[in-house]
Symmetry: C2
Subunit: 215 residues, 2 copies
């Protein structure tokens, strides 16, 4: 009985790790679509959201089933809570990658990101992708050291995010309102993606320690 339970638990963990890998890949493609003004990549990201949404439904079901067939003791209840929260966060990460791809698609064949901000967005994309990877590691290993690393990465993301506004609001900005609005929204999407990765680490912390961190 307990062995079957352990197996089911591992299955949920494995699915969560697979789900966040997809979100990280979506972010990778979305950033490429954005920086290369690549319509095909953008469409690929838009089409790639459905499997992530399906993952959420399936993993949630698996989690609830697992609890229904097992006696609910405190640590398992925590697992259910953490798993349900995690799928919700990853699902949003997928949506945010789609939002980025849709801006790339909307401006095609133009570039949504002007040359002077390409480097910043490349760094935001790289940080976001790495954070998804690290959150996946935290989910897999329950190692809270990587959870602390995620907070540092998030600070870097916030710094990059703020640096966008310095460019947008500088007197030298001469590209007008439309790209400024795109960039403000894009910055927000990357920043929120990173927030969700941090939140996932928080769910694992709760799972391990039983402590919920206030938002």
């Amino acid at each position: 009985m307990r062995d079957a339970y352990r197996e089911q638990l591992d299955a949920v963990t494995g699915r969560l790790v697979g789900m966040i890998r997809k979100a990280g890949e979506q972010m990778h493609l979305a950033t490429r679509a954005l920086l290369d003004a690549d319509l095909e990549q953008a469409e690929k990201v838009v089409g790639g959201d459905a499997p992530i949404n399906r993952d959420q439904l399936e993993i949630d079901e698996l989690t609830i089933e697992l609890m229904a067939t097992q006696g609910p003791v405190a640590s398992e209840l925590r697992m259910v809570t953490a798993a349900l929260r995690t799928t919700a966060d990853i699902e949003r990460m997928g949506d945010l990658a789609v939002h980025i791809a849709k801006i790339a698609r909307m401006r095609y064949p133009d570039h949504a990101v002007p040359a002077e901000l390409r480097e910043t967005f490349a760094a935001m994309g790289k940080t976001a992708e790495e954070m998804a990877q690290k959150a996946g590691e935290v989910l897999r290993t329950h190692d809270l050291t990587s959870a602390a690393e995620l907070s540092r990465d998030d600070n870097e993301m916030d710094r990059l995010h703020r640096s966008l506004f310095l460019v947008l609001l500088d007197d030298a900005w001469d590209r007008g309102v439309e790209p400024a609005v795109d960039i403000a929204l894009l910055g927000r999407y990357y920043e929120r993606f990173a927030d969700h990765a941090v939140e996932i680490a928080g769910h694992v912390r709760y799972l391990v320690t039983g402590e919920i961190q206030s938002a």
Copy 2:
């Protein structure tokens, strides 16, 4: 035993209704702070977020406790899932009201919203507030008629949101980049607030019917 369970369940419902009422009030105050460039109201909203975050912790704990002391049958598992998802949504609604208040505070004593867009933001604020109220009704009554109404309200919110961009990107826009960026972000905050209200109705639908709607 079952009576005690029913009581605990009602307690969770009552707390959820109270929590979303707070989020609706925060949205009301945030919109006033924004439209009146009222620093005091803005500060009040920023300070008013902590009770909502506390609600989430307490309600989640209550929900998990309830499940731990009761045998988990399918309908109760659904209740747990729905309650945990609902507190997460309301918590985000509170954050979004704070984001709005912070833009009002940042631009004080100026108005973040120029005169020609005040009416649109007043309508977005009103719609957002009403949607929080309706979501509260849905939580209280489990009446899915109001859930359908929320989807219509959300369409209205999307329409208002899109209308902002028509103004921002019109050749006649002469207020420059900074207010445009503020408005793009503000629009996003109102729109997301509305999305969360719709999602809460979806959780209740799941609770009542057992069907999860794909995002």
